[in-house]
Amino acid sequence: MDLPNGNFLLPDATALVEGAVFLVVLVVVSKFVLPRLHGLAAQRKQLIDNDLSSASDAESAARHHEEEAALLIGQAHREARAIIDRAYERHDFIVAEGMRKGREEYEWFTRKLDTPRRRPGQAGDVGEPSSSRAPDEQSDVSASLNVG
């Protein structure tokens, strides 16, 4: 590093030249660059604000859709529950009806076995009593089940 001749703490005409050089830079930066940079920053801010606004809208829409989906799922659960309950009721009815029919058949058979056979032509033989018919002939269980 070369020290300048004389007192290097005293400014000379170099200061004027260097001041002019700096002023040129100042003018260029302030007139041509900073407005452009400011514009870019403002556009980016606008862009970010718009994106944030869009994100907020999308978030509220997503929340709305979630609520709607939860509502639909709840409704579907309730419908499924009702269908299952109806199926259980029908199941219980079919089982009860089957048991009743089986019991009637059982009773019919046991009654038929206990009753002594009469010869045809005997007095009082007016044919088979209606109560002694097979249960299938008495009623149509499937009709009473109302299946389908």
Partner: protein, 223 residues
Amino acid sequence: MSVQGDSVVASAVTAVIVICLALYLRGNGSVRKPSALQLAWEVTASSARNLADVAAPYRDRVVAAAVTLFWFILAANWLPLLPGSPLPAPTANINMTIALAVIVIVMVHVTALQARGVRGYLRHYLTPLWLAPVRVLEELIKPVTLALRLFGVLFASGLIFALLGELLPPPAALVPHAAWTLFDLFMSVVQAFIFALLTVLYFNSAVPAETSSSSAPVGRSNQ
């Protein structure tokens, strides 16, 4: 009066570098994908804009001065650190720092005159009257301290590089030279920042506080 050619050439090269960078940013600035350089300039500008809260009506002027000073001083400080650079740091010359300080102080006083008016400007220095000499002395000292602080640091840095080269043989000087270069890189940023920060503070002190609160800013709105 003589002109120091190497310092003038160095400051001219610095100016060319800063102008080229600035014009590159002007041409290639992007909204979506800003480069690191663009972001650095924008951060400098927005920091100066935020700092110039009192001088809000003159914010554009303050921001322009602070941003230009920061990047110009930084480029000047880093100029001799460029590989193979034969140029000295222009800021290690008192002429450059004095010129910068005088320009800043002139701008500050012009702004103070605009903000306060001639009577308000004079009243600011004369009330109370017994403090007038101190206030005038303060205003005279401001550019001197501004200039000498930057000059002293950069001059001392150059001296240390020269001493390392003179006192140590080249292989032994390599590590201290590299360490001092790293420190100098950091110190250059700090000095540029201090100069720009003090500039903004001087502008703020030049404008009465009620001006910024009572009148709408003439400049652009906040970024």
